[in-house]
């Protein structure tokens, strides 16, 4: 996904001279073409994420559209207070690109996992978060959103084949419908863990069970109303996220249910414990935290 995202950014930068790309020394084999095509609009700032966000603030104030690029924890969490006082406070169009959120860098260890980002981004009233489901989706999201006035946070997958690549889905401003169902259950997910959901839906289909499933594509202040209109149609909501259980999409939906006194049972699947120092690939990490296909299937069967 990240390669396609950057290819699309190159097309945009070709037409729009305001686009500038900063990286904190990451993006090997991904950013070279941009740097070659636009040498005066590409800066490797070195391993200095705080400076990168602060500089992006200065660039955006002058009317440019800076993209800052790094692996998730480094582009978002390391310079978090710079984001608060820079792009957020000044409401400037800085674009923060987080590569590989969730457990996409599973075997690289805890420092490279990003399981906190929804919690710390959704609290800013003017920040828009985009979480594309596949490469095609990443490209269309980027071209539609890059010139908005708000600061934007893009959660972008790294180079993995996606189950959802090439497939067509119903898409609205906030959601992508992964599956249509006929039961009283609705599932919401975000990011690459959606592949576990797609697989579990295939498994359930064998027993003629179809579950309505959505991937959340965009988060901002208006999503709460959009979610409410969906949630109130179901008796059971399941959320699946490679994110700490507190603060993520499960928490968002819990807030909506509580504030609107909905008679809905919420089942949250997410990360409930600290790392124990045992790592593996993304599927291993999902299984370890109860987010894999079989665990989703068994939860749904229990509810039914």
């Amino acid at each position: 996904m990240r390669n396609e995202f950057i290819k699309e950014l190159i097309k945009i930068a070709d037409k729009d001279k305001r686009v500038v790309l900063l990286t904190a020394d990451l993006g090997f084999s991904v950013l070279e073409e941009f740097s070659r095509r636009f040498p005066d609009r590409f800066y490797n700032v070195g391993v200095s994420e705080q400076n990168m966000i602060g500089m992006a603030t200065g660039l955006a104030e002058a009317g440019l559209i800076p993209f800052v690029y790094s692996i998730g924890p480094f582009s978002l969490l390391r310079p978090y207070e710079f984001i608060k006082n820079g792009p957020i406070l000044h409401n400037l169009p800085v674009r923060i690109v987080s590569i590989g959120p969730g457990f996409e860098y599973g075997e690289l260890g805890s420092t490279h996992h990003l399981i906190e980002d929804i919690a710390v981004t959704r609290l800013f009233p003017n920040l828009i978060t985009y979480s594309p489901i596949n490469s095609e989706n990443a490209k269309s999201i980027l071209s539609d959103s890059y010139s908005l006035n708000n600061p934007i946070y893009y959660r972008i997958g790294k180079n993995r084949d996606s189950l959802s690549d090439g497939q067509l889905y119903d898409e609205t401003d906030y959601f992508i419908k992964l599956a249509d169902g006929d039961s009283h259950i609705c599932v919401f997910t975000i990011g690459s863990v959606l592949e576990e959901l797609i697989e579990s839906n295939e498994e359930l289909k064998k027993n003629k069970i179809n579950i309505t499933s959505y991937a959340i594509k965009r988060i901002d202040n208006l999503i709460y109303q959009e979610l409410l209109s969906l949630i109130k149609m179901y008796k059971n909501i399941i959320t699946i996220e490679a994110h700490y259980i507190n603060g993520g999409i499960g928490s968002m939906i819990a807030e909506i249910i509580a504030e609107n006194c909905l008679r809905v049972r919420l089942h949250r699947l997410g990360v409930r414990s600290l790392s124990d120092g045992i790592f593996g690939n993304i599927q291993f990490m999902h299984k370890k935290h109860g987010l894999c296909r079989d665990q989703i299937v068994s939860l749904i069967e229990r509810i039914l």
């Binding site: 700032v45 070195g46 200095s48 602060g54 500089m55 200065g58 002058a62 009317g63 406070l89 000044h90």
Partner: protein, 261 residues
């Protein structure tokens, strides 16, 4: 215009602290707005940028925005009262403030970005950033000067308010910066030391930097070490740690006003 008196009056009225810091930098900010900054109008992207990275000296900026006519007497009189845009730390919502500051180590990075933006946009505008010596404790300071130097941001001028004090003590006792002129020079900045209260000296040095840049003779970013005195102009405040925070009682205020005449 007696800008020190304005600082004292508004500090007293608001009962606010950080007087020492404002008195430390006010001569520098006065020269910047009076002589150096090119601001055709506040909406022009071609205007020079000024970043007060040590946001806690905000009152010295407000006083100069007032003297320059960017904010009114009425605005200035709201300093630190309810419903004001003039808090202790300046925010960009106030006309004339380019960047909100108050968290040390951030304004300097905004300034570097602003200078890079001018280079990308092939503009001749300059960026002046006033920072505190305590701010050199921040890792982001070293990150940003490495970038500015590597990319030869000749339109960028850092001015260090070198008063030797920080919140809980003297800088030499808290985190000894040693010979930082030599340190900064080793980062390949055009580095000079001046008396930060001598208006003529501030004027001359900043004019020289500006002239050199405008005539394409600059090859490095600039770093002006302005040697200053925290609380300058009020004898009982000068070089004392407590006046980083304290506000004046009536007796202290009367004496301060007398000394600032």
């Amino acid at each position: 215009m007696n800008y020190r008196k304005l600082i004292l009056e508004h500090s007293k009225k608001a009962g606010a602290g950080h007087i020492g810091s404002a008195l430390s930098v006010v001569d520098i900010i006065y020269v910047l707005y009076d002589q150096i900054l090119n601001i055709p109008n506040l909406d022009s992207n071609e205007r020079d940028r000024f970043v007060l990275s040590k946001g806690h000296a905000g009152l010295a900026l407000y006083v100069n925005l007032f003297l320059k006519g960017f904010i009114s007497q009425k605005d200035l009189d709201t300093y630190c009262s309810d419903d004001t845009k003039l808090g202790v730390h300046p925010e960009h919502y106030l006309p004339g403030v380019d960047f909100s500051t108050g968290s040390l180590g951030q304004g300097i990075t905004f300034a570097t970005g602003a200078a890079l933006a001018a280079k990308i946009e092939k503009s001749q505008r300059m960026v002046f950033c006033l920072l505190s010596d305590a701010e050199l404790n921040e890792g982001s300071f070293w990150e940003t000067i490495l970038f500015a130097s590597h990319h030869k941001l000749t339109n960028l001028v850092f001015i260090l308010d070198n008063n030797g004090q920080q919140a809980l003590g003297y800088t030499k006792d808290v985190i000894n910066l040693g010979d930082f002129k030599q340190k900064i020079e080793s980062f390949d900045f055009e580095t000079i030391s001046i008396n930060g209260h001598d208006v003529e000296s501030i004027k001359n040095s900043l004019h020289n930097i500006k002239d050199k840049y405008k005539s394409n003779k600059a090859s490095k970013p600039s770093f002006v070490i302005a040697n200053t005195i925290c609380g300058k102009g009020v004898s009982y405040m000068e070089n004392t740690i407590e006046w980083h925070y304290k506000s004046m009682n009536d007796t202290e205020y009367t004496q301060a006003l007398k000394e600032s005449e």
